[in-house]
């Protein structure tokens, strides 16, 4: 395949500033892996930040090599002529801190002792991730964001952005997201973390010079993967069909296609993801709570009191990890604070994953919303 037209270059920014974290700790020498698509215009009013979810990275669109067959994680949405159009907008995507795709995280080298941080890496929050992204945008000379867009944990970042930096964010698009994790979401994350920590190779996080806790991480991914799908999508995709066999094997091999699929997803994930990062990012998502972090006392709907952005909130019918009622709660809080908000619940069978999959409705919503934002930003409406 010739991908020359869509080659993107992975970039890295090393901040000279230290980052003071919500936990009270300080992170020195923050590194942020990022990519950009399109050009910042002379007025610098066309910048869009993309925030990735748990297992994503800075590589949102295009290809790294001309022979590469795997495009970025949101290539269906981002690129020239696509809904988030790189011929109109300057699009930035960076890896979250705590991650393992080039930004500072537990697998990075601690400058103090030359060893991998492992669990010495400070616990980070969604707010800390956003502060790190702000360092990057300042470095890139972006004075204000036309929009910040993200799904799931990326959606939490967009919400955090709108409240932490209200004058910096003209609009925000949280997809399949929530102002806080439900007990159900925390429960699944905890089971996944336990799977990692129960792997004898995990060694309290100090596995970087030994074998990785691959089995634990694979099980964690399998659990996560189930929560991203839905009853309907699993039934349609696999039903009770058997994998390459006509009858049960009467042992504990993968008999069902769904078993084989999950094992494959689990093992594929181990090759590209760090188990400690999984712990850090899921914990950050579980801690995230706009209500406790940004509400005035006794005013449960004041979380968006500081926000000024215009919002597009989207949920998906079959998403049971971040169900529609959570998006509606967001919309309600935004309305109570007199914010301009649009909301749509898209019919989709594929569960939480729906925000990542090609969907003409989602594309129309985002491109239409961004067109309006561009016009209103240029007219200088909101500020």
């Amino acid at each position: 395949m010739d991908n020359t037209f869509a080659i993107v270059e992975p970039k890295k920014f090393k901040s000279s500033q230290s980052l003071s974290l919500e936990s009270g700790k300080i992170l020195e020498g923050v590194s942020i892996a990022y990519e950009t698509y399109g050009e910042l215009n002379p007025k610098k009013d066309n910048a869009i930040l993309l925030c990735h979810a748990l297992s994503g990275d800075a590589h949102a669109a295009g290809y790294h090599h001309k022979d590469s067959t795997k495009p970025g994680w949101w290539d269906t949405m981002v690129g020239p002529g696509k809904a988030i159009d790189s011929s109109k907008y300057f699009i930035i995507c960076s890896n979250v801190i705590g991650g393992c795709m080039g930004s500072s995280g537990p697998s990075s080298i601690n400058p103090k002792d030359g060893q991998h941080y492992a669990l010495n890496f400070p616990v980070v929050t969604i707010g800390d991730m956003v502060k790190a992204q702000k360092l990057l945008l300042d470095h890139l000379g972006v004075p204000r964001l036309l929009s910040v867009i993200g799904g799931s944990i990326g959606g939490m970042q967009t919400l955090e952005w709108s409240i932490r930096y209200p004058d910096f964010v003209f609009s925000a698009v949280p997809l399949a997201s929530a102002q806080r994790h439900s007990a159900l979401a925390i429960a699944f994350n905890e089971v996944a973390r336990q799977a990692i920590m129960a792997d004898p190779n995990w060694r309290k996080g100090n596995y970087y010079n030994n074998e990785k806790p691959g089995l634990g991480l694979a099980v964690a991914r399998m659990i996560g993967h189930i929560t991203y799908l839905s009853d309907d999508s699993l039934r349609n995709k696999f039903g009770r069909r058997l994998q390459d066999k006509k009858d049960f094997s009467f042992n504990f091999d993968a008999d069902f296609q769904v078993e084989s699929y999950l094992r494959y997803q689990g093992s594929k994930f181990v090759d590209r993801f760090d188990a400690n990062s999984f712990l850090y990012i899921t914990k950050a998502a579980d801690y995230f709570d706009l209500k406790t972090q940004h509400c005035a006392e006794g005013q449960p709907l004041s979380s968006f009191a500081k926000a000024k952005a215009k919002f597009l909130v989207v949920s998906f019918t079959s998403d049971w990890l971040y169900p529609t009622y959570q998006s509606r709660a967001l919309v309600k809080a935004m309305k109570k604070n007199n914010l301009d908000v649009s909301f749509c619940e898209i019919k989709a069978q594929c569960g939480h994953d729906a925000f990542l999959l090609p969907n003409p409705q989602l594309s129309s919503l985002i491109s239409g919303f961004l067109d309006r934002m561009k016009k209103e930003f240029q007219l200088g409406h909101a500020f």
Partner: protein, 206 residues
């Protein structure tokens, strides 16, 4: 645009804040944004129509109008528009009270059930009337609250809100064209359009 929407649009003051309930594909909001520079918001139940609206550059929420209006602070809008929907509302008095809380003025349009065609069908055929404006059978109609222009006036008096303006219209060609009815409106109009306000808004009548 539908003829009733043209009349409604002519009542909206330039630059005002407008909420359109059941905004459909957003024709009225687009018109008001372009011609009257309003800040508009729509509420619509259908996903497809919401996508169409947002794609057109409107700010629209998908949801049930009865629930969605509850979240707005008092006087969030200058005008709240409820066009051709009141006849489908389960608790019209509660809804209108809520609309007069969040909006300074409310525009309501509805099909007139005392139009002569309705009367003739009931009188001569003994059938529940079925017209272009109310095209359903009694067993599948979403229009559960059929009313007449006179009914609405009595309703306003009983519930304590004011009709600030009233226009009766007769429409043709799928409601795209029409004319204002001055004589015997209760008999000849297919739709009634009312601008209503709270009693204490009396001074605002233009």
């Amino acid at each position: 645009m539908r003829f009733d929407l043209e009349i409604i649009a002519s009542w909206i003051e330039p630059g005002s804040r407008v909420l359109d309930l059941g905004c459909g594909e957003g024709d009225l909001l687009v018109y008001l944004k372009e011609k009257k520079q309003v800040t508009g918001t729509g509420i619509e139940l259908s996903e497809e129509k919401v996508v169409t609206c947002i794609d057109k550059g409107l700010s629209v929420l998908q949801g049930d109008i009865n629930k969605e209006v509850e979240d707005y602070a008092d006087h969030s809008f200058d005008f709240v528009i409820l066009s051709q929907t009141l006849q489908q509302v389960y608790e019209p008095a509660t809804l209108i009270k809520e609309l007069l809380r969040i909006g300074n003025k409310v525009v309501v349009s509805f099909p007139n059930f005392s139009h002569w065609r309705c009367r003739l069908q009931l009188l001569f055929y003994g059938m529940a009337p079925k017209t272009k404006q109310l095209p359903y059978q009694w067993y599948n109609t979403p229009n559960i609250r059929v009313m007449t222009l006179g009914d609405f006036r009595r309703f306003a008096q009983k519930k304590g809100f004011h009709i600030l303006k009233e226009v009766a219209i007769n429409t043709q060609n799928k409601d795209k064209q029409g004319k204002i009815i001055h004589f015997f409106p209760n008999l000849r109009a297919t739709y009634g359009i009312m601008l209503i306000g709270n009693r204490n808004n009396e001074k605002n009548i233009n």
